[in-house]
């Protein structure tokens, strides 16, 4: 009896907690509302299944608990019932999977008009690089990283000279413009994660990973590292500011380029010539 009541309370309590709890996702600030929708669909389907199964167990425990003289039924199997349940489950799974795959297809297809922004992770801070006036990021190599070249930019690649470098500061992005985040790490695995953007991706030393999104809300958002990167992992924080176009342009005008900051030798010789 107690068991059945507790099982019912678990269902009621879990559902109540779900609707009443103050802990829920942050207000979204990107175009990935689709992901939130998929989560909602999944919540409804899985929630219904959870409630159904546990309530069924509660009913069985209450109705068929042992009493003197009671004997259980003998029913080795019921193919029809099993097939029905299997079919229903398959439908439920498909209902979650199909929208999920559809959205994933969008998630990995970067729109052609997306601008690039590079994030460089290093223990334990975030740096950013924007492609500058020519719209192209210069080549980079971890082996070139040094005190006078924290990004490991190849000094002889002219595309890199006008790259805007944002060190130890917040990245600004214009609202409603799709952006492809190129993710790079110079030391270990990191993961660029902004809860409000609903997207994240690991950064791997020696490789460039990416994801894309469109900021849809102005404001300042915290960047967290979501892949264990040593003892300083929880302190690896940064920020992204989503601006209106005017604010963004004003901010960008105040930033320095690679050439200005580190004056690569190649550039000097190039200007002398």
């Amino acid at each position: 009896m107690v068991v059945a009541v507790v099982l019912v309370l678990i269902v009621v309590g879990s559902v109540a907690f779900h609707f009443l709890s103050p802990w829920w996702w942050t207000p979204i600030a990107s175009n990935w509302g689709y992901i939130d929708n998929t989560i909602i669909i999944t919540f409804w389907i899985t929630g219904a299944v959870f409630a159904a199964v546990v309530l069924f167990v509660a009913y069985c425990v209450w109705r068929f608990r042992h009493k003197d003289g009671q004997k259980a039924d003998y029913e080795p199997e019921n193919k029809r019932l099993e097939n029905w349940l299997m079919g229903l489950t398959a439908v439920g799974v498909a209902a979650m999977l199909i929208p999920g795959l559809f959205v994933w297809g969008q998630f990995i297809t970067v729109p052609a008009e997306a601008t690039e922004a590079e994030v460089v992770g290093a223990q334990w801070q975030w740096s950013y690089r924007l492609p500058g006036a020519d719209g192209k990021l210069g080549l980079s190599d971890t082996r070139l990283v040094a005190a006078d070249n924290p990004y490991g930019i190849k000094p002889d690649d002219p595309n890199g000279h006008d790259d805007v470098l944002i060190e130890a500061d917040y990245l600004h992005l214009p609202i409603d413009k799709p952006v492809k985040m190129l993710l790079r790490s110079v030391d270990t695995l990191h993961d660029f994660y902004v809860a409000e953007f609903r997207s994240k991706m690991d950064m791997i030393p020696g490789a460039v990973t990416y994801f894309w999104f469109t900021p849809t809300r102005t404001g300042q958002f915290e960047v967290l590292c979501a892949e264990l990167c040593g003892t300083g992992h929880p302190y690896m924080r940064g920020g992204v500011v989503v601006d209106t176009q005017e604010d963004y342009d004003a901010w960008l005008a105040g930033q320095s380029t690679y050439a200005q900051l580190y004056a690569p030798e190649v550039l000097k010789t190039a200007t002398i010539d």
């Binding site: 709890s21 270990t188 020696g206 915290e222």
Partner: protein, 596 residues
């Protein structure tokens, strides 16, 4: 029905099996024993002992999360050492070892009507290698730098970089310990598999095996094929760490210094690790599935519903679990197109798993449910497993995983599904088989106290934790209080979770006390206290002596689930009882007697 090989005439005094090992001294009987039952108890005791360490570590972690700075000896390095050791011990050295080394060793020979495992000597070596692995692991606490703090996934390059605690020697000992574990496990695994294939008694066809044996059997086959991936990953990482190779190590600049490695692939390690790691989830789950089926059937006095489907589901889950590993790597930066394939395979695996859940609950339907402690734990397993399994549908669905991966949602999910749920089964199984192992019942009052606190407490720990993850709180944060989007109430939730964790942990002390106390003071149980059908309950002595079944091996005449057979005198018919069942139709009977 007695033939020459099994008959008493063929062999006068000894067991018919002349090759059976016989202990000659106290040492070979109890310490270097080759008897699977003794080895089982050695495995189980070692696993539970090291598990207590992991439990204490979880307390310390929770203390840090709820009351940062209160325990001054926990700094970030210690915290990461705690999470690493907690995870690794719980997954490998406790649950895997306990299910396969403990329950596998005890139950396979007894349930199949065998005198022992087929290779008793190798079986003994398996335990001692496992013990050595555990000791090497524990030894890392006493080396300079302490144990590794790389997280239980040991992802390179971080695992062997200088900002990871235990970089001096802890990581080396961890890898060596894992290699030893794999070797030891392979020795044991050969025994479990070949005993199932070759050691069954007369009449014990595969389809008459209890689902416990099916679960352990398939899990062992999977483990034998999956553990080599862990072995390879560990050996290669040892090379990277000790010999300076670059299997997994790319060129990287650590704290301003370019390391001599170049060109390696951290992703390669992740593939190898999860090629082991995902089957590992089912290596833990399948024995739990099997055992819980038998607990439910026995204590509901009803045959397991859809036995054939249950067997097929175990086999299908085992096979599918080898093609889903990369769902742990959706945001690892691997080729994003893999996401389509692995999301589909992952969600397909939900179907056979769901079938198993339906069949458990349908077994309860029109049963005669005795709410004994094993049954209570089985019911709790259903609740927690369904909960954890359903949250798996979030994480398996590739795009939903993107916001949730590496958050507390993942922590809550895998603790619910492969922490709480299998451990509840372990508890249920211990309450169920303890009378057979010791001849005494565990104390019922302590059992109920243990059950209610553990079940409700664990649910209250991990259910709300999902919502921290949905909010976006990352896992593996030494301190998370200052995250901008986190309302102050989240910290209250953290304190609540910690308090619950301390209470649940304390309840395990009651359980351990019960285990020890009942050896002497428990109520004598008799040979078959649960009136169960399977062979381990039909041994002539309880606890079963060496050789298990006296002079004659039992002969099996029926499947393992003849409970409440219509027309039978008792509500169970042991597997070794000859005779046919009264005829009955296959269609479900109309329930009679409730209405006039």
């Amino acid at each position: 029905m007695v033939d020459a090989t099994h008959g008493p005439d063929a062999h006068a005094a000894e067991f018919p099996d002349v090759e059976l090992y016989h202990p000659r001294s106290w040492w070979t009987r109890y310490v270097f024993s080759q008897d699977a039952k003794v080895i089982a108890i050695q495995y189980a005791s070692t696993a539970l002992a090291i598990g207590m360490l992991a439990l204490v570590l979880s307390w310390l972690m929770r203390m840090q999360l709820a009351f940062p700075g209160f325990l001054t000896f926990i700094d970030a390095a210690a915290y990461y050492q705690f999470i690493t050791m907690h995870g690794m011990i719980m997954v490998i050295y406790l649950i895997t070892a306990l299910f396969l080394g403990g329950f596998g060793n005890y139950l396979i020979p007894l349930m199949l009507g065998a005198r022992d495992m087929v290779f008793p000597y190798v079986n003994m070596l398996s335990y001692w290698t496992y013990l050595l692995a555990v000791l090497v692991l524990v030894a890392s606490w006493f080396t300079p730098g302490g144990p590794t703090g790389a997280g239980w996934t040991l992802y390179p390059p971080q695992a062997i970089l200088s900002n990871t605690p235990g970089q001096e020697s802890g990581i080396v000992l961890m890898l060596v310990s894992l290699i030893l574990f794999v070797i030891g496990f392979t020795m044991g695994g050969l025994n479990y598999i070949v005993t199932v294939l070759q050691g069954r008694t007369r009449g014990m066809t595969l389809m008459r095996m209890p689902l416990t044996v099916w679960g352990i059997f398939i899990a062992t086959v999977m483990a034998m094929l999956a553990f080599p991936a862990l072995f390879v990953a560990c050996v290669m990482m040892l090379f990277d760490k000790l010999l300076g190779t670059s299997f997994f190590m790319p060129a990287l600049v650590e704290m301003g210094e370019l390391l001599p490695h170049d060109g390696g692939s951290p992703i390669l390690f992740q593939h190898l690790f999860w090629f082991f790691g995902h089957p590992e989830v089912y290596i833990v789950a399948l024995p739990a599935f099997g055992i819980v089926s038998d607990l439910i059937s026995t204590h509901a006095r009803k045959n397991i519903f859809g036995y054939r489907m249950m067997v097929w589901a175990i086999v299908i889950i085992g096979a599918l679990s080898f093609v889903v590993w990369a769902h742990h790597m959706y945001v690892s930066g691997m080729n994003p197109y893999f996401g389509f394939f692995f999301a589909v395979t992952t969600l397909i695996i939900a179907v056979p798993t769901a079938i198993k859940v339906y069949n458990w609950v349908l077994t309860l339907w029109r049963g005669d449910i005795h709410l004994n402690p094993p049954m209570l734990f089985a019911l709790a397993f259903i609740v927690t497993f369904v909960n954890g399994g359903l949250t798996g549908l979030f994480l398996g669905n590739v795009v939903v995983d993107v916001p949730l991966s590496d958050t507390m949602f993942v922590v809550a999910h895998f603790h619910m599904v492969m922490g709480v749920a299998p451990i509840l089964v372990i508890f249920g199984a211990i309450y169920h088989w303890y009378p057979k192992i010791t001849g005494r019942m565990l104390d019922n009052t302590m059992a109920h106290l243990h059950f209610w606190v553990t079940f409700l407490g664990a649910y209250l720990i991990f259910f709300p934790m999902h919502y921290l993850g949905i909010m976006g709180v990352p896992r593996r944060y030494f301190e998370s209080g200052d995250i901008s989007f986190q309302p102050p109430s989240a910290h209250d939730l953290n304190i609540f979770i910690t308090v619950m964790a301390l209470i649940v942990g304390a309840a395990q002390l009651v359980f351990v006390f019960n285990l020890i106390w009942s050896i002497r003071h428990g109520k004598p149980s008799g040979g078959n206290p649960w009136r169960a059908t399977t062979l381990e309950w039909q041994t002539p002595e309880t606890p079963p002596v060496h050789g298990n079944f006296g002079r004659e091996l039992p002969v099996v005449y029926r499947w393992a689930y003849d409970y409440s057979v219509p027309g039978a005198a008792e509500d169970f018919i042991p597997q070794n009882q000859p005779g046919t069942n009264p005829p009955h139709s296959e269609a479900p009977r109309k329930r009679k007697g409730t209405k006039p």
